[in-house]
Symmetry: C2
Subunit: 425 residues, 2 copies
Amino acid sequence: MVVPLCSYRGTLAAMSIVVQKFGGTSVADADRIKAVAAHAVATRKAGKDVVVVVSAMGKSTDELIVLASEVTDNRHPREMDMLLTAGERISMALVAMAIQDHGVGSTSLTGSQAGILTTEEHGQAEIIGIRGDRVREGLADGKIVIVAGFQGFSPETRDVTTLGRGGSDATAVALAAVLRAEVCEIYTDVDGVFTADPRVVPGAKKLDEISFEEMLEMAAAGAGVLMTRSVEFGRRYRIPIHVRSSFHGGVGTWVKEETMEEAIIRGVAHDVSEAKVTVHGVPDQPGVAARLFEPLAEAGVSVDMIVQNVSLQGVTDISFTVPRADLDMAEKVAEAVVGDVGAAGADVDHNIAKVSLIGAGMTDELGIAGKMFRILADHGVNIEMISTSPIRISCVVRGDDVAAAVRGLHDGFALGEEQESAENG
Amino acid sequence: MVVPLCSYRGTLAAMSIVVQKFGGTSVADADRIKAVAAHAVATRKAGKDVVVVVSAMGKSTDELIVLASEVTDNRHPREMDMLLTAGERISMALVAMAIQDHGVGSTSLTGSQAGILTTEEHGQAEIIGIRGDRVREGLADGKIVIVAGFQGFSPETRDVTTLGRGGSDATAVALAAVLRAEVCEIYTDVDGVFTADPRVVPGAKKLDEISFEEMLEMAAAGAGVLMTRSVEFGRRYRIPIHVRSSFHGGVGTWVKEETMEEAIIRGVAHDVSEAKVTVHGVPDQPGVAARLFEPLAEAGVSVDMIVQNVSLQGVTDISFTVPRADLDMAEKVAEAVVGDVGAAGADVDHNIAKVSLIGAGMTDELGIAGKMFRILADHGVNIEMISTSPIRISCVVRGDDVAAAVRGLHDGFALGEEQESAENG
């Protein structure tokens, strides 16, 4: 994900650039498109150079996927990308028109016109560089430039590619990096990043700021508002990301390098998108784990947490979590390995959830993990697996216990209150 | 409309190329798309190199236009083209997928990927050249290449353009010219070119062949099956065009240089898309006509027929026909000219139709015009304007009389019968 920063600045140096990204909900119909246009124009009139990155309208990407499924049962990755990139093409042209209605110049650019260079993996391409000449030319002409999110092209194959989930955010932050924007604004249907998912914890509090590292852990732990890949871009190129509501003008959450707030715990994240695979009766010999996890990696299975039980009479159990999407493949690989290594068997547990506590402050504070485990126990939540990083503690629990766990931790660490009182929670 | 013929032939010389164009109705849903794919695959398996040119699915272009009208009341030509080109992108990707399901390689190319170079007039660009490298590469790889019809890009502005009405046919015939295809097949919802519109004349006969010149006159006279611009390409580069049904495999109509059939009259065409403007009491002085028709040309009004009455007491009437789409502008210009030249006034007649008799044979035959006028009179049809070319006679009649005129002429010249008997009709 290296984005070569271009040294060319031309006439742009005088004005600071704002990149504004609007997701599918924000451009779902004509009225919302006009609202996006008005917002971009207001930013332009406030003296900024504005680049707008848009997703496809509402559910239009899903509709195109349904259309493809009516035509074929097979995967045709290149043509699927050709098909799906029609979606942003439509929204970006409409946004550009609506902006021009304000008497402000604008021009829409596809990923390939904007010079979004990617790897060649259709459907999950990675951004490898951004040319951006036409973006700069548009800005130099005083225009608001609209760029299609989610799409790019492979210089290797000269084919159009898509970036996969969270792709439009990645486009926006990478563009902001290359243009040295002062901020990348991610407009979304929530007010910002919260101390916990407000649908689970009604008292969850919106964070005014969060560090890149904390946001990375939050995203990896299941906070859906931003994908790790865009946070990673922001962190690497020091582009502040402002996650904010597309419904009102209030301040959202700033994701940036340093934060003023000295919170110990930033928030609780949870993730119900994973499943657990356990291989039982594994001979406790050197190299056994490699014989399981190497084939999993080769099969493209993304393994999250791994726990190996204490060995008993020369055999042990190995459990790991994977995204549900990878579960069939993971099970197949695990079952093949069972025979290879002489294990007793493998089984799958669909009903799990991961609950994580995130905060850069916990590195300096003792006893956070202990307090977390006690709170879970007090709420009758059994812990099945544990994994930690310097700024995160994650526990796998029963899927049915997830709400109680999240609420208990949010309460127990007093995350809904002002931060001063957090240590007394 | 110059298409530079590329001298490169590479490995393609061995196999003959067929270009197949399918319109919106032919790719309207998943089933029709699969049928198009099966047909292209069958042609490939019969030993041809196949290039498929597709329009947008069914009414999808109209739906995009409605979407734009919800966002803006203004014309934004560049963004409108960006928007509309999403349509072919969707159909071409789906056709490519359906072809791959047959185990045959295929790749879809946008107008710009296929190297369709155009002028920069958005919405009505003209093809100025075709690079076609990626089309040739695809064919050399043994693939069926799908090309988006209707769209190209301007090398001047590097922007995506659309070709306007009949644009997909133009793409197909121009591609066929550049690739030196053996034929350009235009698949449509009718069986071919008829001696008259079968909706008006139930006994109309499908023509097996027609010359480029006759087809040009038929198209200009209102036969909707092909636009003049594609016939012009075919004529210039001697690419036979086969107009045929997308519903069955029967032979349609071959449009080509020489025809075997020595018909005197090829068919009757009619056009109800025009209106008539008359400027009354025009001083009969040199230069008056120029003062009317120069401003009309400058205003982009496409004038078809012109008739100037015999001068009476130094004043005359000038009538001309224009497409209804240009009528408002034509009326405005005419009214401005009335004052300039001291004419009495201008009025507009919406209720007209043009009926034309077309046939290369009529150049060698005397009395065709006289017979035409007599037939119209016998059917009680009054003639308001007359215009002729070596292979066409057109009469403007009352709009209400058009069906009687077309049926009368088709009958009178015995066009529904075998050609031998035509002279006895």
